[in-house]
Symmetry: C2
Subunit: 343 residues, 2 copies
């Protein structure tokens, strides 16, 4: 591993000049700059990032906070891969790397977990991370609030947070839900139910709100018994659907706040002898891969999956360079009409 000093000696200049060539070009003579660059390339010089970080007190790394919630072991992020791709490539474009922080302590007390946000913040300081990206693992709004308050630049995904240098990016959940429900109303349905996510979850609440708005739009009454809570998991969709079907006046259409639950609802409907979409129309949310595969294929609300990551990257970079807080980002959603609503 060649160092700056070696380059300097070979070029007959000082290490300071070598450093300047890379960090403040323009302050160095064209000839020497070229010479340094050439030698550096020949030797395959790679600046030592540790030394650089030590000196500048900042690294080119951004922390990724993503814990699998122990209370919800089976939780799968609806589109983790797309998210990571978007995030990573957007950060890459600015020379930043993503550091997936250790999440469980060991003997040396290295580690952090959502249960202990301080651990993550400590890691941030240790490594001079520029900031943190928080991926919702299900229901940790409280923990995220702690991050946001810590003063570390951070952007949360799908969780509204507030703090001196915090912001978030989320989908237009209300709008999406409104579109979905409105679509059902437009098809002539008047008895439209919804299966919601966990009440503590912000996107979940927004989707309920969008559902309500759409009912108003269509001049339909809001019936409390048509709002059943699930937890985004499939089985909760099944249970909720069974509950709805047991009503005196069961709905003819259901908007489920996640595709997983929509699939669960679909199974329940099928088990009850109902044909979808003939007897019951179903719309989901997320547009996960499964949505296109079930029988009938699920009409659903699609989110801008890679856009999520890209927006998060932009936001965190903006908060690192600028020193204030950024405005939250709300990404548009899109209704994907397939077969399950019988349009």
């Amino acid at each position: 591993m060649p160092t700056g000093r070696e380059i300097a000696q070979l070029c007959g200049v000082s290490v300071a000049t070598v450093s300047r060539v890379f960090n403040q070009p323009g302050t160095v003579n064209e000839d020497t700059r070229e010479r340094v660059l050439r030698v550096a390339k020949e030797l395959g010089y790679q600046p030592n990032e540790s030394a650089r970080a030590l000196s500048t007190k900042q690294s080119t790394m951004i922390g990724l906070v993503w814990d699998t919630d122990h209370r919800r072991p089976g939780w799968r992020h609806p589109y983790l891969q797309d998210l990571l791709i978007g995030l990573k490539s957007a950060l890459s474009a600015h020379g930043y790397h993503l550091l997936m922080l250790a999440t469980s302590g060991d003997a040396r007390e290295v580690g952090a977990s959502l249960a202990d946000p301080v651990g993550y913040v400590n890691m941030t300081r240790r490594h001079h991370l520029g900031g943190l990206v928080l991926i919702d693992s299900g229901s940790d709004a409280e923990a995220f609030a702690a991050f946001a308050q810590s003063g570390v630049p951070c952007v949360a995904l799908d969780v509204a947070v507030d703090g001196p240098r915090a912001t978030y990016v989320t989908s237009d959940n209300a709008g999406g839900a409104r579109m979905a429900t409105g679509h059902l109303a437009g098809l002539g349905h008047t008895r439209i139910a919804t299966i919601t996510g966990p009440p503590g979850n912000q996107p979940s609440r927004d989707r309920v709100a969008g559902y309500r708005t759409a009912l108003q739009d269509a001049g339909l009454p809001a019936r409390d018994e048509y709002v059943v809570a699930g937890d985004f998991y499939r089985t909760s969709g099944t249970v909720a659907m069974q509950r709805l079907l047991a009503l005196d006046d069961p709905p003819t259409a259901v908007f489920a706040a996640s595709d997983e639950m929509a699939v669960g609802a679909l199974l329940a409907a099928r088990a009850a002898g109902l044909r979808v979409p003939h007897d019951l129309a179903i719309v989901g949310f997320d547009d996960i891969e499964v949505a296109a595969l079930v029988e009938p294929a699920l009409t659903t609300v699609a989110q801008d999956k890679p856009g999520f990551g890209v927006a998060a990257a932009k936001a965190i970079l903006a908060m690192i360079t600028g020193s204030g807080r950024e405005d939250p980002v709300v990404l548009p959603t899109r209704l994907v009409v397939r077969e399950s609503c019988g349009s």
Copy 2:
């Protein structure tokens, strides 16, 4: 941010002693050790990892090489999330972090991509990474070979590599394929076809081998026209199935080398008016989430998804501490019998 020096002053000792408390306990007096520890805790001392890495020439980070192949944009890893969970938690337990390296260059020439393995290796040196974990993005065996030869400790997933400090983790693809095919034979099928993955892919080749072995086991002839190549994607499964159904003597059972292709095959069979499993038995590979959801639910070969990550973590840690090469790890596979084979 308190530094070691501050701790030292408050405790009336030298920085060397503070450092020793953390790195060579036992060489320092019990009393002072305790005192230092207490003060460190009070101040919330976090050792500066950059300084530490600079001094020791090693960091607690491991690089993750995971590019989305531009030649196969739609590629989705069958179980990225489980893999990452396993990898991350196993590394965490030893105080290591995962660094997702930047993959595309920018103006400052920061970056790396599979097309340029050197870039990744350079990043490894810059950050003093302990090693690299290579996640197969579809078909980059050549690039992976370059990593393995570079001398950087690295472990590849699902790609057999060889190098001074390289090893790999893979599933027992041959065994799984043999089980799957054997299961079909056991059900009385004699005309068993297979839809393979891309020929350049090692797991793909192993699965074909397992298929062949199972035919031998059952005393069935190996018929070349029953081996059709796909590319792991769904549509290729559909195309392959159509080809198989067009044969004079079409198969009554198919082993697809991926669940995606199995689903594609299923769609083709359905389109051709065949009932699965009555007219055609299908078995897949991977046990992705969709497998349990399609109609009929897919019999498939399950891999030890989190085990993959854990094994990779173990392997890379072993290669970092030890200085030689580790033996490849082959994880057992498991046949998950559902409905698509009609057992």
